[in-house]
Subunit: 384 residues, 2 copies
Amino acid sequence: MKTKPKLICPICGAEYNEPVQRCSCGEPVEFELFEGEPYIGKTVWERFWDFWPVEPALELSLGEGDTPLVKSRIGKELGVKLYLKNETVNPTWSFKDRGTFLTMSYALKAGYKAVGTVSTGNMAASVSAYASRFGLDAKILVSENASDEKLRAVSVYGGDVIRVRGDYGRLYFESLKLGERLGVYFINSDNPFRVEGYKGIAFEIAEELIPDYVLIPTSSGGLFRGIAKGFIELKEIGLIEELPTLIAVQAEGCSPICRAFKEGREKIERFENPKTIAKAIANPYPPSGNAVLKLLREFGWLCVSVSDEEIIEAQRKLASEGLFVQPASATGVAALEKLTESGVISEGSNVVSILTGSGLKTLSHVEGGKIVECPLEGLENCLR
Amino acid sequence: MKTKPKLICPICGAEYNEPVQRCSCGEPVEFELFEGEPYIGKTVWERFWDFWPVEPALELSLGEGDTPLVKSRIGKELGVKLYLKNETVNPTWSFKDRGTFLTMSYALKAGYKAVGTVSTGNMAASVSAYASRFGLDAKILVSENASDEKLRAVSVYGGDVIRVRGDYGRLYFESLKLGERLGVYFINSDNPFRVEGYKGIAFEIAEELIPDYVLIPTSSGGLFRGIAKGFIELKEIGLIEELPTLIAVQAEGCSPICRAFKEGREKIERFENPKTIAKAIANPYPPSGNAVLKLLREFGWLCVSVSDEEIIEAQRKLASEGLFVQPASATGVAALEKLTESGVISEGSNVVSILTGSGLKTLSHVEGGKIVECPLEGLENCLR
């Protein structure tokens, strides 16, 4: 493990020796590439010990990561081998826990007494939970229209939930600025430690198979950048020979990265009036959008958007093989259908799709199935 | 792995060579003890291959089991070493998946086209999910007062949800009888294959430490019997030297096993007017109640009941270290407080408590924390 790894801006190339969160050019920074070798160990943190920017606080782990890779029969219908990386079985039931745990390990070591985040969903729950676990105060900033119901799964962990009236997009940058001044470490969606935590997904996949394609629901871009860096590091040290083709998947109703990619632009633009059922990936101005765009170009990767109808249908298909996910998590499978139909993904390919968060989190949006009423005396007929 | 293991009635001793579900005396049957040795392997199914009554259908696994054992700081306050076995990170977010997967492996092999269960909660979701995964029809029988909201997390998997008007207690036995006639394999709470699946919890705990006490939220008794059999098998083959003391934990408002235990009776009696916040363990006439009672007596184990207030307080404490569980899952920690106070569990003991299911499943019962309102311009003050 490097003792003081450098941070680099992937856009302008500026370098930092201190753990800043963003480059002075406004873009996110990221840690230099790590190298080392894998070890035998129970957790992904131990097996890939050389590859983390800070020592994981193992004694405070809640068991995040090391999630199952489930073979899906949806692949068979489409002529590919499809595997689902089930991140819904993390401690707060989303992939966020991997990044939160690693960032919290840094915050504790750096002496912070309070952490924060800007989120109404998975990240808010994850940061609240780990802050409690690590004994740190939590400041969870949520938008004014976040429902009380949704916030119950956040406030239960005991942090301060603060509903902020005003432009929610500005909150991301305001929180970093204020946090620095007040000694509150903000763990937002593409915090450089958080992004490193997501590398574990790439490491675990590579322990089981070498995918040709990886489908990644993409909002802020933090998850995409983390998985990309994981595979790149594995290739650099010779553990894999080829990089898989990574595919950023967005909802049509909020697809700023795919739009810029398609139009050949180098910078994303704010997506006005976002509207999609996939709330967890509905960031209209993703803070890592330009960095993701650059990765897509550099490696010849892809961005695909899918409609709400396609998302709902994919969510239903996943449930019908036992995996109940939130709408955002179904976008990968929805995109796969398009990509196999159009021949972009060829027959027999190894494909992994990331299931990012549990369907229980968006239960109130789920259409229930039909319920049959039956008297006990007539049960036999009802069972036939 | 034994090819045709015997089933034995733990109460009257009758033996069966066919996979019946219950003894003619009315009590549950259980498989004879298995022996063998552990192997190196990724999943608990592979590592304890010799110990299952049927070959686990690994290619259809959803990744159930192999859950984290989390060290808790609640133990420190109480002067013991407390570890939490986090079963909330199973594929349908409860321990039921272990038993469901193994039973479904049997049902598929035996040629059944349909399976069923009687449940409104964790088991209903689990059986629906795995039925879909295994390509079997599902008949989920629920009581007439089950809310539509609760059933949404069940019907999403695509099985038939049947709301039955009439005595819910009778449904358990009626379903077994009708199922046999109609070729629907009912996977109820203490099905003998299901109970075997729960042994994995004991095996995984023993891979990490030798507990002095294991706290087990107890309703039908299936989970308790499974964990007990797991430890007994480990002792029989010499992998552990002493059995831990197992503690059945019930809610005061529905504690038929603890009541019979305390009163020195050999048979449980129906608990009239059950009333507790811990709905997942509120079975007033547990079908494995007498079998659990016998185990408690035979090994000098314990039964402890806790009040709703104690449960809510324990649920809050668990959340404040990052683990959000349903009320039933908090009963173990609530019992631990009583048992350390009274000196039954002595200082320095190794204690494991089983966290059976996710708090997201009972979100509407959770009291939300305070939410602070704040204008963006005043954010600095709100963060101080």
